[in-house]
Symmetry: C2
Subunit: 334 residues, 2 copies
């Protein structure tokens, strides 16, 4: 494992993107999002995903210089077309506009269709929280999750992210609707470990913690069984309906052709209702109540969502971004 | 089990509420919400909860004739004070105003503090869907759920409901953040059955399907383990911050004194962006993709959220509301 400076990695990614035809300022912003994701400890969706972005640029799924356009709008609600631009830049721009609407109307919503994989959903929740708004966003995905009671993966794992502004550290949740991604399941299998909690079905139709059995059936569990299954369906439906974009069942089921996604970005700006001191006190008091909970394991502290991110961010800022040697070699060869 | 007509039950509940001082038109609306909940098959939150409402009126938690008031507002975002009115009437009025805002601004949001238990969250999601808007609402609750990694129930099970309008039948999800309520866990124990999926911890700290063990530890599971735990925290925080109301840790932990809840009501009106024919087609196509999924059990059809409700509603409309004899006797004696 290498430790590289943020700047070094960002410049390398930028150079690759520019070589692929992306305008330099866009390449800087796109590379920064990748580096921030790795810096925040979300290694699955940072640098390790960069080679996949490159392939989807090369195969034409992603149009490097396309920007989302406003199709229609009414007050605080707007429908956008992502024009097949890079998913992370598109999502950042959509949240930026939702934030703008939230400052003008208290709340704002952008529904964007025809976009690409947004990489790390949490990026846009942090973006909202850093701008003093509560942000909430979700995306549909290709078919990768069977609904409760079904065998075929007709649903997506449809990640959702929520961010809450707080001076002492935003509270940010970033969750997919499957209990574990196939990437995580593979990791456990390779390490010869069982999943910490049930994550799917075995060939006999029993719920299991065995990663190999789940890879065999391709039946991962939705979070909360029937509950996450239902939520996945509604997130897909709302995103597709409001954007007039594709629903999960229409999205190509392959990492390299998964495109034309539909997404929702909602921002609420508490400051439009007056000074936010009291909001801060309320957020701090909730955090204190979580920290005050008796931990399962002695000596630990129960964490709020996003707390670990701040710790990893600080660590990676000090030590440099952790980068797998093979990934770095592949990126340097691009 | 009795089968009584909707009208008969509604008139009885109305009479009890009027006797308790509620204005007749309000009593009619409040009784109707209870009857609709039972009619829709959500028996835990319909008539069976009426005696508890009566007790909270008698002990002063619920002010029968109080209506929510607007504290502040900016564009499509408003902060309301529930004035300790009846939770279901308050929630209905708040969603009505969110719907009004959604028609005026595309999207609308009401944050309401100082309110009471809203009974069935799905009621307000159906209300939005029936008005042609996508509705999304959530409430905090008293402390009844330990966060992931913790032993004390410092979180609430904070139910959330989402409704999507669709001519062929709205798609409606109503879910709490615990995998099972304590009421459901008790039912399984009394029936001598195990839970169908893990629902909490046993005294040794293992995840279990044994309802008696969970009642012993009082450690039910959040949906999706760490994921639902995180979502519960963020739903509580957003509701309390935006309404400047109480957070879960401040709400009395007793069914009869649980009051001063904070809630969020969001409505999005797709028709503000143009004709909704295409939205309808998209919703129908998603439903068709779910129905097309190969079922786990031969002969079954995989259902979308809300589908079963329409079936139970039709059944109960035909046969009458199913009412437990003891509950009916108790209500008739009020």
């Amino acid at each position: 494992m290498l430790r590289l400076t943020f700047t070094e990695v960002q410049q390398k990614l930028e150079a690759v993107l520019v070589k692929l035809g992306m305008e330099p300022t866009r390449a800087t912003a796109c590379a920064k999002l990748f580096c921030e994701t790795t810096q925040d400890g979300v290694y699955t969706h940072g640098l390790n995903r960069f080679p996949r972005l490159v392939k989807t640029i090369q195969n034409g799924c992603v149009d490097v210089n396309a920007s989302p356009t406003r199709v229609s709008g009414f007050g605080a609600l707007e429908r956008w077309d992502g024009q097949k631009g890079p998913g992370n830049l598109n999502a950042q721009q959509a949240m930026e506009q939702a934030l703008e609407l939230s400052r003008a109307h208290g709340i704002g919503c952008i529904a964007m269709g025809n976009t690409n994989h947004w990489l790390r959903g949490g990026s846009y929740a942090w973006q909202a929280a850093n701008a003093g708004s509560i942000g909430m966003c979700w995306t549909n995905t290709m078919q990768n999750l069977p609904p409760w009671g079904g065998l075929d993966p007709v649903c997506g794992n449809n990640p959702m992210a929520i961010g809450i502004p707080r001076q002492a550290g935003p509270v940010v949740l970033d969750m997919a609707m499957s209990q574990f991604s196939f990437g995580a399941i593979e990791k456990y299998r390779k390490a010869g470990e069982q999943l910490p909690v049930p994550g799917g079905f075995d060939p006999e139709g029993n719920i299991t913690c065995d990663p190999a059995a789940i890879e065999q059936t391709m039946r991962p569990l939705p979070v909360g069984y029937w509950k996450g299954s239902g939520l996945s369906i509604l997130l897909d439906m709302t995103a597709a309906m409001l954007s007039l974009g594709r629903a999960t069942h229409q999205i190509p089921s392959d990492f390299l052709t998964e495109s034309g996604l539909s997404q929702i970005f909602i921002a609420i700006h508490p400051a439009t209702l007056g000074p936010t001191d009291e909001c801060e006190r309320i957020a701090d008091a909730v955090v204190a109540s979580i920290h005050g909970c008796k931990p399962e394991k002695e000596g630990r502290t129960v964490r709020y969502p996003g707390e670990q991110t701040l710790k990893l961010r600080a660590e990676n800022q000090q030590l440099g971004l952790p980068v797998e040697e093979a990934t770095w070699a592949a990126i340097c060869a691009m």
